[in-house]
Amino acid sequence: MDGGAAERPASAVAAPPALIEVRGLLTVMAGTVIHRDLDLDVREGEMLALIGGSGSGKTTLLRMLLGLEVPAAGTIKVFGHPLGRCARIDLECVRHRWGVLFQQGALFTALTVFDNVALPLRELKSLDPGMIETLVMMKLTQVGLRPEDGAKMPSELSGGMIKRVALARALILDPQLLFLDEPTAGLDPDSSKQFVALIRALRRELRLTVVMVTHDVDTLLALADRVAVLADRHLIAVDELAKVARLPHPFVSNFFMGHLQRCEGQGLAGFRATLDEAGGPA
């Protein structure tokens, strides 16, 4: 399969349905307004990157989308179900259809790598142990871990491995929607490149819709179809990478300083191609 489908400009086809719909979001934390009148659509199959200055509320917005924080006003619909107000059973369905990669991995420190990845499967209470084992080992291989890593405890893993295990856990139920919070933050350049290549490969294989928070230009260029820019408490732009990069806003011009060439057709395609080659088949 080629990666073309995901990278085709979204305007060339009829817009696919929105998996996430945010309308009029108002977020207040400890008396401070963090988002006001924020609207956002995440379409099926796309990779949307959320960028913004430090403290602009990217993580908070992601937590809102996950239902970990409750908005002061406005609605958030995921898979068409309004978060917070829907029946328990609907919420359960939503949660089986998404995966989340937290910034520090958030592995369960008391469980081994295997048990961490197996946990979402065991929660279903309907799979036999043999099946769980096969699925977990398949997923570990898919994210580039060796079978013997399964017996390790999270404290014995390197930063890059933690992210891989966390990714395996996020993907174990084969979700449609994947959330990534700073997927490459804290990784050395080499691990970061490998991890980005891995996400690209997995995305092609699993037809994921991805929402990603990042402040790393390379990660953004490698992965994003559309970019949402969070500034002044709302999204000042949600558009294709090349268009956003030319936006006359101080944060945006700072962010893309020296990278403008790489955001356009040829440069971008070339960069992504080298990544895919270097990463090889996952």
Binding site: A30, L91, F108
Partner: protein, 358 residues
């Protein structure tokens, strides 16, 4: 001409702060005096600020300032950003008249409300589990019984034994004076299973397991494990809190039996040493001295204490914010509050059941 020399840095100035504070404004009083900073070997922000203050923000005619020093004065001339309070406390700004006493009552009320809500949620979770027995977290339950019960046997035995000996010695001395030696069995048999055993075990377990439960939940907050559970749709109360509460409610009565037994054993040995009461006679005398109601009362209290300690520990654990200070404060609060709560509940029991089993 005022000529400055040497290091005008925060460390260099420490020793001369007093003298400079007096001299500099005096020099500045002469508005036409030229200041020569060319011989200053090092000037840091604190040194520049000292001068700036002495000049009351109006630099005098300067001679031979170096560019890097100029930059510091320009920075000061621009003025620092005004300091802002870290957090606007909504309640404080609305009602400045709220005094400390009221604030602590409000704090207590919020905690009580939150603990009640948590207990209610646990009840609902328990009902859910009754309808879906397959979802009962047996592993967590047994792990918690092991951690809070089995692993506490050593320390509770040691403390119980020593307290039993002390108690027996003290009463033995008094009883000897009246020639009522044999009543040591009654006194120990009455006080230990009903009061001292449950209380002592509960206090040790609150310090041991209560703190570890709070810390565990707090660390899970810090490492985002709690968020990871939520995102997977796993209920914190059902998976983390309920097993802890149930396990401690089961484990503590067992620990109490153990502690009381060891305490009585200690008392028995001391009674033999001090009063020459034969251990066999001591054991045979116990059933008459301990009304069955006292045992039941002790166990009931232990079940309650166990549940309460775990409930409070989890309450404080779930409130911990993702920072180390909050973690430390939460653990301290958890232990202090649960020990206090145990003693308060014990006192309520003592009054309410004063005419049972005595």
């Amino acid at each position: 001409m005022a000529r400055l020399r040497g290091d005008w840095t925060v460390l260099g100035l420490l020793r001369h702060a007093g003298a400079l504070a007096a001299d500099l404004p005096a020099l500045r009083a002469d508005a036409t005096l030229q200041w020569d900073l060319s011989a200053v070997s090092r000037l840091d922000t604190a040194g520049a600020l000292l001068l700036w203050r002495a000049w009351s923000g109006q630099p005098p005619p300067l001679a031979g300032t170096r560019p890097e020093h100029r930059a510091l004065f320009d920075l000061l001339a621009a003025g620092p950003a005004p300091r802002r309070a870290r957090r606007v406390d909504a309640t404080a700004s609305e009602k400045p008249a709220v005094n400390a006493l009221q604030a602590s009552f409000v704090g207590l009320a919020t905690h009580l409300l939150a603990v009640t809500a948590l207990a209610g949620q646990l009840l609902l979770d328990a009902l859910t589990l009754m309808r879906h027995p397959g979802a009962i977290p047996w592993r967590e339950l047994s792990a918690n019984v092991y951690r809070t019960g089995t692993q506490a046997l050593g320390i509770t035995a040691l403390v119980g034994f020593l307290v039993g000996i002390t108690l027996s010695y003290l009463t033995a001395r008094q009883l000897q004076n009246y020639g009522a030696d044999i009543f040591v069995i009654n006194i120990l048999g009455l006080s230990i299973p009903r009061e001292l055993g449950p209380l002592l075990a509960a206090i040790i377990v609150a310090g041991r397991s209560g703190s570890s439960m709070t810390a565990q939940l707090g660390v899970m907050r810090v490492t985002q494990e709690l968020d990871a559970l939520s995102v997977l749709g796993i209920s914190h109360t059902l998976r983390l809190v309920l097993p802890k509460v149930l396990a401690l409610a089961v484990a503590l009565p067992l620990v109490v039996v153990w502690t009381s037994a060891v305490m009585l054993g200690g008392g028995m040995l001391a009674a033999q040493a001090e009063l020459g009461i034969d251990p066999l006679r001591f054991v045979q005398g116990l059933p008459a001295a301990v009304p069955i109601a006292n045992l039941l009362l002790g166990w009931t209290k232990a079940v309650l204490f166990g549940g309460l300690i775990a409930l409070l520990a989890c309450h404080f654990g779930l409130r911990i914010e993702p920072n180390t200070e909050s973690l430390g404060a939460g653990v301290t609060q958890s232990v202090v509050v649960s020990i206090t709560a145990v003693i308060v509940v014990d006192a309520i029991f003592a009054v309410a059941f004063s005419n049972v089993g005595l």
